[in-house]
Symmetry: C2
Subunit: 198 residues, 2 copies
């Protein structure tokens, strides 16, 4: 379905409201009626773009997959140097600090809540995580090709470790309401990458 | 309330059923009626031990906090040597492999689902995570006192990094259905600890 410019703006407004509510209350605590009110649209408008709560959730996941790895930050350049990786980690830590450790990550919340239950949404989440991981993988490959990393550096493992550190840090920071877990986990993962410095 | 031996067994059966269902379906997908059926108890029995769904969830969290850091494993000894930490990591990876990456961690699921919404349960989750972290912290302190780790090793950061690696690995392994994230994240965190070897 091709949307008019106005239609796209409405759809985007609904998705923004849904993303924000899910980050704060979880999927179970967010009804389509909540989303409708927050977005300031009518029930028939909402239904026009998303004919079920699941369709809305899946669109939120797909949209978040497009977002750079740290929410609330403008699109980053390639993560293809130690400095760029450090800046990425610092941005994630700063995001938690600004929100007193409540810097919600919509996808982290969704992964905890949906993974066991909803197969189609789980697949969307997989794709979102794999897309993020590929950004890290691309950057690390450029570093290895440039000779910043030793030839034997296992890019699959390193990129997965960085993504897991971001997710684990996010989950614990969200629960403990402090940025310390994010700082500790990203420092550890970056130190691991540094241990393969050429 | 002091429970008879039979009462304790019934309460434990209810908690086991609830823990299992929550790990597989999430909190939102688990009704007290589901728990009642799975545990094979009457409605009045269930209500006798847990007068609300929230009371049941909080008891599940408290019970999981008592569980050693890797579910499905008998209680471990102290995590106070590089070998013990490696065995702990290997057990967590093996747990994901046995379950094709679906080795659900009830607390990881709960953290993703509840943290934004439910303040009392969030505090219970905090306590569970801090308890686990203190097991790691105790082990690392013993290593530092014994001279395995350099005097400057930051035990707060190291123990948090290990716990975040376990949680991030669990979340991603659960979503991607492979043990690779758990392996990558724990290998990275252990390498970080090793970098402080005396």
């Amino acid at each position: 379905m091709a949307l008019t410019r106005k239609g796209q703006a409405t759809r985007e407004r609904i998705l923004e409201a849904a993303t924000d509510l899910i980050a704060r209350r979880g999927v179970a605590g967010t009804s389509t009626e909540d989303v409708r009110k927050a977005a300031g649209v009518s029930g028939s408008q909402l239904y026009h773009y998303f004919d079920s709560k699941q369709a809305l959730i899946r669109a939120v996941i797909t949209r978040q997959a497009e977002v750079p790895l740290v929410p609330g930050r403008p699109v980053m350049g390639a993560l293809d140097s130690f400095d760029a990786l450090r800046a990425w980690a610092d941005a994630a830590i700063a995001h938690q600090e600004r929100n007193s450790g409540r810097g919600e990550c919509t996808l982290t919340s969704l992964a905890g809540e949906l993974a066991p239950a909803d197969e189609r949404s789980r697949e969307d989440l997989c794709n979102a995580f794999l897309r993020w991981r590929s950004l890290l993988h691309d950057g690390l490959r450029a570093m290895r090709e440039r000779g910043d990393l030793v030839p034997g550096a296992d890019l699959d493992e390193l990129s997965m470790a960085l993504l897991a550190a971001l997710q684990g840090g996010s989950l614990l920071s969200q629960t403990l309401r402090t940025a310390e877990p994010m700082r500790a986990s990203l420092n550890a993962a970056l130190a691991y990458v540094h241990s393969f410095e050429a």
